[in-house]
Structures are given as structure tokens and as C-alpha cells.
């Protein structure tokens, strides 16, 4: 097309140049003709001026010397014009004949001027003047006729020349019109032809581009002509095909990435059952577009097929293969790797992918992917295999770690259970010892006084002894009762309790004890809500805590009873004393049954009973104690008891 375009343009240029050349030639010719005509006309004007001037001067002749005569300057001017006309005629190039004629005219003019001058300047008698006038008139008439004759001849020539010039102009007009029209139509034809072809060619490419834009990758434009647009169209086709190829590859990669991602899911979803091999096999087959996949796991000195366990691969052979492939994923082809004796490999007809599973540096398994559906395994497969190998290795290690963890946990639980059993036995032993000790004292007294009364005769003495035996028996009974109380599970009777009122009530009960001691009581009762609790059980708890405090302050001190709101759902009650305090080594054991520091004064069951009551109310007891400074018991109780049935009795009606 380029060549055709250049040739067409060159031809057009040539055509235009020819047209321009012809035009210029005709313009030149016409201009020259016109110039000739114009100059001839100019000459004609000069001749006419000559005639006019001669006629004007002739008119003056008749009036010179009369009252009607013109000013002399006017006459002089006219004669000068006449002279100039003749001189300008003579100045042109003429034929010999014409030159002679003009010379004669010129001479005549000179004579005429002399005669005129003589007539104008002469002062003489009338006759002489008239004679001079006649001479001048005759000369003037002769001159006029000569000039007129010349003008007539020239006129004819001028006419002929003008006609010719007009004819030439007309001819050049026609030629110019024809040339320009032809050039214009030729240019138009070339323009139309090329525009059509270019538009058509562009149309094919534009349509193909539109299809490409619409997502039809790989679309090709079939261009039927052999020109530059064909190159363009071929380049377009290449581009489109490359785009499709790249797009497909990209899609393939995305798909494989998706498979790879899916493959990782079972690897991370560890369960009690261990590795989900079946699921793994499925996604690996999808990932590598293969029909078969086998997993071999090391078991002692061999590798077992996870699916059926019927195929056994010798450890040495697999290790050798692992080393042969430099511990990297590889494409295995029968015969390519040395020292393969196992018959399993003989069944592998096509190249297969070997993916190693490692635990740290130790080979622990092998994945063989076989029978690729389309084409054969390539570098991309190897790259993905490497990623999968790492993932599998990590996953296998995770499985192992999980198993280890599970085993350790089991061992730990067993040890803990053994320890708890031992502690239980020890506590039971101590409790039994404590009970034995508690019962031993009254029993020893009873036995002793029984023996004494058998030997005693005095009834009074015997009565006295029997009284002691009774007392000691009652004491033993009390111990047994308390033991029963501790062991007994009591039903909780929930009512609405005003805790401040309850504490005041308990202080009244303890007032006798307090009266005989040097203890100051401070009541710091806050604005606490009515709580839901067992009135009697709480009374028992706080009486026990106050008693303990009084016993701790034998030498006097201060007892503080404090209530307040712990948080939205709980209140607290502090029982604080300035007694001897509890040593840190004892503090953890104070809530144990039968643990006491008071020996004769208590059974060691008060605090443990209190603890159980508060626990039964979903509350808790915190202890803070410093030796020789004092102890604070904080009882925290919930305002509501959601799980318990509330008995709508007034707590005030209840008594201990």
C-alpha cells in the first residue's frame, strides 16, 4: 500500500505540476498579450491626445489676439502636451515606415510651433498677422490629418491585436479549466480509493480489537490483502494469541494455587485420627492433574503403602533414591534411577512425581504421583512439589508433636490422680488421728474414774466420780455430734436477710463474753442491700468468726465489724481483730476439719463448717493475717441466689 500510495502521490504531483506549468505558461502568454494590448491602447491614447491637442491648439489659433483668446500659458501648455505626445510616439520602437511618418509629424510640429510662436509674438499690421495665422492654420490642419491617418491605421492594428489577445485568453481559460478539473478529479479518485481501502483495512482490525476488548482472547483478524495492514494484522494476531496463552497460563497457575491451598487444609486440620490420608490423596491428584497417588510412610526398616499396606518398599532402596535425587522432588522414569529392584516400580510405565516427606533431616515418607492426565510433569510441577514436600514434612512433624503432647498429658493426669489419692489418704489419717486424740481424753478420764469408783466404797465419792464420768461422756458425745454435723449435708433455707441487722443481733449474743474482756467493738456498717441467704447458717458463720476474734484478743484489743458493697452483685462483711494473728505456715490449713490451735477450747471444725456454708451460698472467705498485728476475715456474699428457691420468711423471726 505504501508503494502504491507513493506512486499515486508522485503521479498526482506530476499531474499538478504539469497543470501548474501549463497554467503558468498560459498566464504568462495572456499577460504578455494583454501587456501588448495595453501598451497599444496607451499608444492609442497618446495618438488621440496628439489629435486632441492639435485640435485644441488649432482652436486657439482662431482666438489669439481676440478678447476670447486663452491665456498664453494655457496655449503654451497645450503646445507642450502636443510636443510631448509626438515625442512619446517617437520614443517607441516602430517600423521604418512609421518612424519616417513620425519624423515627418515631428518636423511638422516644429514648423507649427514656429508659426504659432511667430503669430503669438508678432506685432504688425493686420494683413501680416492674418498671413501668419493662415500659415499656422494650414500647418495645423496638415498635422491633424497626418495624425488622424496614423491613428486610424494604428486603430486597426490595435483591434486585430486585441481580438487575438482575447482569443488567447479564452483558450488559456479552457486549458486551465480542463487541466485543473482533470487534476482535481484524479486527486479525488485517488483519495476515495485509498480512503476506502484504509477504512476497510482499519475496520477489520477495529472489529478484531473490539472482540479482544470484549474478552475474546485469542481472536484473530483475517486480512485478505497483501500490504502494511497485513503486517499489522499479523502482529495483532500474534498479540492476541500470546495474550490468550498468557491468560490461560495465569488461570492454570491460579487453579493450581487454589488446589495447593486446598491441599494444605487437610494437612493443618489435625484430629485424633492423625493424618487424613484419603483426603490428601484426593487433593494431590487434583493438584497435579493425575489419576493415581500413593503415600508410603516409614515403618521400622521399610516404607508401607498407607492405602492398602500390601506394597512394601525397602528402606535402603528408597533412601538411595532420595540421595540420588539430592533430596529434592523429582520426576521418576523407569530405568533412569539406578539400583531399583522392587517390582512396584516396574508397574510405573509413565514418568511419575516423587515427593519426599521428611522429619527434620530424616526421610519419613514418600508421595508418588502417577499418570498425569494431560501431558507430562514439568518444572512447574516440581516447584509445586517442593512446596508440598515442605508442607507435608511440617504437617507430619506436627502430627508427631501432637501425639507426643497427648501422651505427656495422659501421663501427667495419671500422676496427678495418684498424688490426689495420696493426699486424701494423708488427710484421712490426720483426721482419724485428731478424732482419736479428741476422743481419747474423755475416754481416758471415764476409764480412770470407772476403775477408781470400783475400788471406792464411799458413795459420795462414787457419786462424784460418776458425775465426772458423765461429764466426760457428754464431752465425747459433743465431739461425735460435731463430727456428725460436719459430715451432714444440710439443706439451705434461703430468706431475705438484712446483714447489718444480723450482725447487731450476733453482737448482742456475744455481749456477755465481750463484757468480761478488754475489747472495743467498732461497727462500720455500710448501705448494703438485702441479700438472699440462709439466716441461721450465716448467724452460725459470723458468731464463729467473732468468737475466734475474741479468743485471739485475750489481752484485749479492737474488734471491727464492717459491711459494704463489693460490686453490683456482691456485698462483703469484714470481721477484723487486733489479736495475735495467724502464722503464715498455718494459714493455708485453717479451713481443714479438726485443725485447731486452741486445743481444749475448740474442736477444729468451726472454720471448716463456716467455709462450707459460705461456699454453699456461692460466696467465699478471704483471710488476711499478720502475726502480733491481727487478722481480717472477709466474707463475700452474692446479693441474689439465682439457682436457689427463696423462702419468703422474715429473717427477724428466725433464731439460732
Amino acid at each position: 500500500m505504501k508503494k502504491r500510495l507513493i506512486i499515486s502521490m508522485a503521479l498526482l504531483f506530476l499531474l499538478f505540476s504539469t497543470g501548474v506549468g501549463i497554467t503558468i505558461y498560459y498566464i504568462y502568454k495572456t499577460t504578455t498579450d494583454l501587456e501588448t494590448v495595453i501598451s497599444l491602447h496607451r499608444v492609442e491614447i497618446i495618438r488621440q491626445n496628439l489629435v486632441i491637442n492639435t485640435q485644441t491648439v488649432q482652436t486657439h489659433l482662431y482666438t489669439i489676439g481676440t478678447a476670447f483668446g486663452s491665456e498664453l500659458d494655457v496655449i503654451v501648455e497645450h503646445v507642450s502636451d502636443l510636443d510631448r505626445s509626438v515625442q512619446s510616439c517617437k520614443s517607441c520602437h516602430h517600423s521604418k515606415e512609421l518612424t519616417e511618418k513620425l519624423n515627418r509629424v515631428s518636423d511638422m510640429v516644429e514648423q507649427y510651433k514656429d508659426a504659432l510662436s511667430a503669430l503669438i509674438t508678432t506685432t504688425a499690421n493686420r494683413e501680416r498677422i492674418e498671413r501668419l495665422r493662415l500659415v499656422a492654420i494650414t500647418l495645423g490642419n496638415t498635422l491633424l490629418s497626418m495624425v488622424q491617418e496614423m491613428a486610424f491605421t494604428a486603430d486597426q492594428r490595435l483591434y486585430a491585436k486585441t481580438v487575438k489577445a482575447l482569443k488567447d485568453i479564452n483558450n488559456s481559460k479552457i486549458i486551465l479549466f480542463l487541466t485543473l478539473s482533470f487534476a482535481f478529479f484524479a486527486a479525488l479518485t485517488v483519495a476515495i480509493v485509498f480512503t476506502k481501502q484504509i477504512t476497510k483495512s482499519m475496520g477489520i482490525l477495529i472489529n478484531a480489537t473490539k472482540e479482544l476488548k470484549a474478552g475474546k482472547l485469542g481472536v484473530t483478524a483475517s486480512y485478505p490483502y497483501r500490504d502494511e495492514f497485513r503486517d499489522l494484522s499479523e502482529a495483532f494476531n500474534d498479540m492476541s494469541i500470546t495474550l490468550k496463552k498468557n491468560h490461560d497460563e495465569l488461570l492454570g497457575f491460579t487453579k493450581r494455587l487454589s488446589h495447593l491451598y486446598r491441599a494444605t487444609i487437610p494437612l493443618y486440620s489435625l484430629s485424633e485420627e492423625g493424618m487424613p490420608y484419603n483426603e490428601l490423596i484426593g487433593v494431590v491428584k487434583e493438584l497435579f492433574d493425575a489419576t493415581d497417588c500413593r503415600i508410603f510412610i516409614r515403618d521400622n526398616e521399610r516404607f508401607l503403602d498407607i492405602a492398602g499396606k500390601e506394597i512394601i518398599l525397602p528402606e535402603k532402596e528408597i533412601e538411595a533414591l532420595h540421595l540420588y535425587y539430592r533430596k529434592e522432588p523429582a520426576i521418576f522414569t523407569l530405568g533412569s534411577a539406578p539400583s531399583i529392584k522392587t517390582s512396584f516400580f516396574d508397574s510405573i510405565n509413565e514418568p511419575s512425581l516423587l515427593i519426599w516427606i521428611k522429619e527434620q533431616e530424616r526421610l519419613s515418607g514418600l508421595l508418588i504421583v502417577m499418570n498425569k492426565k494431560h501431558g507430562s510433569f514439568d518444572d512447574t510441577d516440581l516447584s509445586i512439589a517442593a512446596i508440598l514436600s515442605n508442607l507435608l514434612s511440617v504437617s507430619f512433624m506436627n502430627v508427631k508433636l501432637m501425639e507426643d503432647l497427648r501422651n505427656r498429658m495422659r501421663e501427667l493426669q495419671q500422676t496427678q490422680e495418684q498424688l490426689i489419692q495420696a493426699a486424701k489418704l494423708a488427710a484421712l489419717g490426720e483426721m482419724a488421728s485428731n478424732i482419736a486424740h479428741e476422743l481419747n481424753n474423755p475416754l481416758t478420764s471415764i476409764i480412770g474414774f470407772s476403775e477408781l469408783s470400783q475400788e471406792e466404797s464411799d458413795i459420795e465419792t462414787i457419786k462424784k466420780d460418776l458425775k465426772i464420768i458423765e461429764q466426760e461422756s457428754l464431752r465425747a458425745k459433743e465431739i461425735v455430734n460435731q463430727l456428725l454435723e460436719f459430715a451432714r449435708k444440710r439443706a439451705i433455707n434461703i430468706v431475705e436477710v438484712n446483714i447489718n441487722l444480723l450482725l447487731s443481733e450476733i453482737l448482742k449474743l456475744a455481749s456477755l463474753q465481750l463484757k468480761h474482756s478488754d475489747i472495743d467493738v467498732i461497727e462500720e456498717f455500710g448501705q448494703v442491700p438485702i441479700i438472699q441467704a440462709d439466716h441461721n447458717q450465716l448467724k452460725q458463720v459470723f458468731l464463729n468468726l467473732i468468737n475466734n476474734s475474741i479468743h485471739a484478743m485475750e489481752k484485749g484489743g479492737t474488734l471491727v465489724l464492717r459491711t459494704g458493697i463489693m460490686d453490683n452483685a456482691n456485698i462483703y462483711v469484714d470481721v477484723e481483730d487486733t489479736g495475735h494473728g495467724i502464722p503464715p505456715d498455718i494459714l493455708p490449713r485453717i479451713f481443714e476439719p479438726f485443725f485447731t490451735t486452741k486445743k481444749e477450747k475448740g474442736t477444729g471444725l468451726g472454720l471448716s463448717i463456716s467455709y462450707r456454708i459460705i461456699e454453699g451460698h456461692n460466696g467465699r472467705i478471704d483471710v488476711h493475717s499478720e502475726v502480733n498485728k491481727g487478722t481480717r476475715f472477709r466474707v463475700i456474699l452474692p446479693v441474689r441466689q439465682p439457682s436457689l428457691q427463696v423462702s419468703h420468711q422474715q429473717s427477724q423471726d428466725q433464731s439460732l
Partner: protein, 291 residues
């Protein structure tokens, strides 16, 4: 308002000055020495030169007859004129004009002589032969074309010269007088030598055709005299331009066309010789009928 009046006044003044300047021109008369058309051709470049140099339109006008010149000078309000020897004296006396410059001819002279001449074939050899013949003078108001001849005839004992001839007439120009003799329209002619020489130069055959009977003494040739009404400054400028023409290349070209080497200064004293001639011719300038 004042400003507006001032501007309008200034504009009116400006326009009136321009129109005055446009109308002002210098008009100089020419006595018909030769064929008036040829004479005008000679003088035209000089008028253009003066117009250019003065920055004022300068125009020449032919005074048809010698005798008319004083009347026409007054009538047409001329600023000056190129006068002949006698007309200069006449104008000095009648109009009070002042002689300014005169051209120096190509032969280096600035004076002219008058000739009395006849055709060689006329058989007129001296003054006696002239009796009863036809004589063509130039004009009553020319020294070289009439007055010197009158003085000559009177010196030769002819008391009333005009009656001495059968016919006399005035051709109005020197070359017409020559042509009249050559054409046979007159037997005797009186004219300025320079015009005759010019003609002979153009047509050497003429040399053989004429015979000079008498000649005058050298008289001041054509002289530019300026009117007394022209202010001194302008007069001086005109004199200066003309005197320095030969130093200026443009001026030299004009002088060449004019047929002169240069212009020389002229004064009243140059004309004492004319007064002597008038005395010989018995002419009293104040009463002389020159028409």
C-alpha cells in the same frame, strides 16, 4: 471650556496657515526671446529647481509681447521677470524692480549684441540700400532687437528711421525676426546675436544665407529682476540659490538644460550703457511709448 476654545483656535490658525502656505507661489515672467514653446521648455527645469529649493511653488509665465510686460507685470502681480537690457531699465524706472542675477552663457559671456542683417542674396550692402525695404524688428521694447538699430540709423543721419522703410513690423521674438528675413517676409532684420548664433548652430547653412550689416556694443543680457514687494530675506534666498546652482550636481543638470554655465550677480550699474544707448536713440525713458 477654555481648553476647548484654545484647541479650536489653534486648529483654525493651523489650517489658515496651511491654506495660506498652499496658495503662496512665486510667479516670474519671461520675455519672448525666441520661440516661446522652446523658451518655456528651457525654463521649466529652473522653475522646478527653485520650487524644490525654496520650498515654494515657483512658476514662469510667458509675457506675449515685449511691450506688454510692464502692464502685465502689474496686472498679474508678478514677483519678478527675466528682462532684456531695455526692459530691465524700463522696469527699474516704472516698477522699481531690482536686478538680481543673470545667466552666464556657455561661451562665458553674459552680454548680448544686436545685429542688423539681411539675406546675402538681397543686394543690400549698407544703410543706403535699405531705403524703401521691409524691416522686421523684434519689439519696440528691446535694445538688441530695436533701440540699438534706431540709434544706429540716427547716428547715420536718418532722422526718422521708421519712415525710411517701406514697411516695418515687430515679430515679437528674435528668432521670428530672423525667420522673417530668411522666409522673405522682410528684407532686413534686427535681432540679438545669441539667438542668431543658436539658429546657425542648429542649421549651419543659415551662416551662408545671412549678411550682418551692423552690430551693437555689448549690452547686459537677460536679467532676473525681482519686485520691490518681495521681502529682502526671500530675495536673498533666491539670489543665493541661483548663484550657488553650479556647485550643486542637481543645479548643474538644470543649468545644462537651461544652456548656461552659471548665474552671476547683477546690479543697476550694469545698465548705464543702456542709458547711453537710449540717449543716442533720442529716447526719454519716462515718456517713451514702448507699446
Amino acid at each position: 471650556m477654555r481648553l476647548l476654545v484654545l484647541i479650536i483656535s489653534a486648529l483654525i490658525l493651523c489650517f489658515s496657515t496651511i491654506s495660506f502656505a498652499a496658495e503662496r507661489e512665486i510667479l516670474i515672467g519671461l520675455i519672448p526671446e525666441e520661440n516661446i514653446f522652446r523658451q518655456m521648455d528651457r525654463y521649466k527645469p529652473l522653475s522646478e529647481y527653485l520650487t524644490f529649493k525654496l520650498g515654494m511653488k515657483t512658476r514662469f509665465t510667458i509675457l506675449s509681447r515685449y511691450g506688454d510686460i510692464i502692464d502685465r507685470f502689474v496686472m498679474r502681480n508678478l514677483d519678478g521677470a527675466f528682462f532684456g537690457a531695455f526692459t530691465s531699465v524700463l522696469a527699474m524706472e516704472k516698477l522699481g524692480v531690482e536686478p538680481v542675477v543673470r545667466p552666464m552663457d556657455l561661451d562665458g559671456t553674459s552680454s548680448a549684441e544686436g545685429y542688423i542683417f539681411v539675406r546675402r542674396d538681397s543686394n543690400i550692402k549698407d544703410i543706403k540700400d535699405m531705403k524703401g525695404k521691409t524691416i522686421a524688428f523684434v519689439d519696440r521694447a528691446t535694445a538688441t532687437g530695436y533701440i540699438f538699430a534706431l540709434a544706429y540709423f540716427k547716428e547715420h543721419g536718418i532722422k526718422n528711421p521708421l519712415n525710411y522703410f517701406k514697411e516695418y513690423y515687430f515679430t515679437g521674438s528674435h528668432d521670428s525676426a530672423l525667420l522673417s528675413v530668411l522666409d522673405g517676409r522682410a528684407d532686413i532684420g534686427v535681432a540679438k546675436n545669441k539667438i542668431i548664433k543658436e539658429r546657425i548652430k542648429k542649421d549651419p547653412v543659415m551662416q551662408q544665407e545671412i549678411l550682418i550689416i551692423a552690430r551693437s556694443i555689448a549690452l547686459p543680457d537677460v536679467t532676473l529682476c525681482l519686485s520691490k514687494k518681495i521681502d529682502k530675506g526671500l530675495k536673498e534666498r533666491i539670489r543665493d540659490i541661483l548663484l550657488k546652482m553650479d556647485k550643486d550636481p542637481e543645479g548643474r543638470k538644470v543649468l545644462e538644460r537651461f544652456g548656461a554655465l552659471r548665474f552671476i550677480a547683477a546690479s543697476k550699474e550694469d545698465f548705464s550703457i543702456v542709458y547711453n544707448l537710449l540717449k543716442k536713440a533720442d529716447i526719454e525713458i519716462k515718456t517713451y511709448k514702448y507699446r
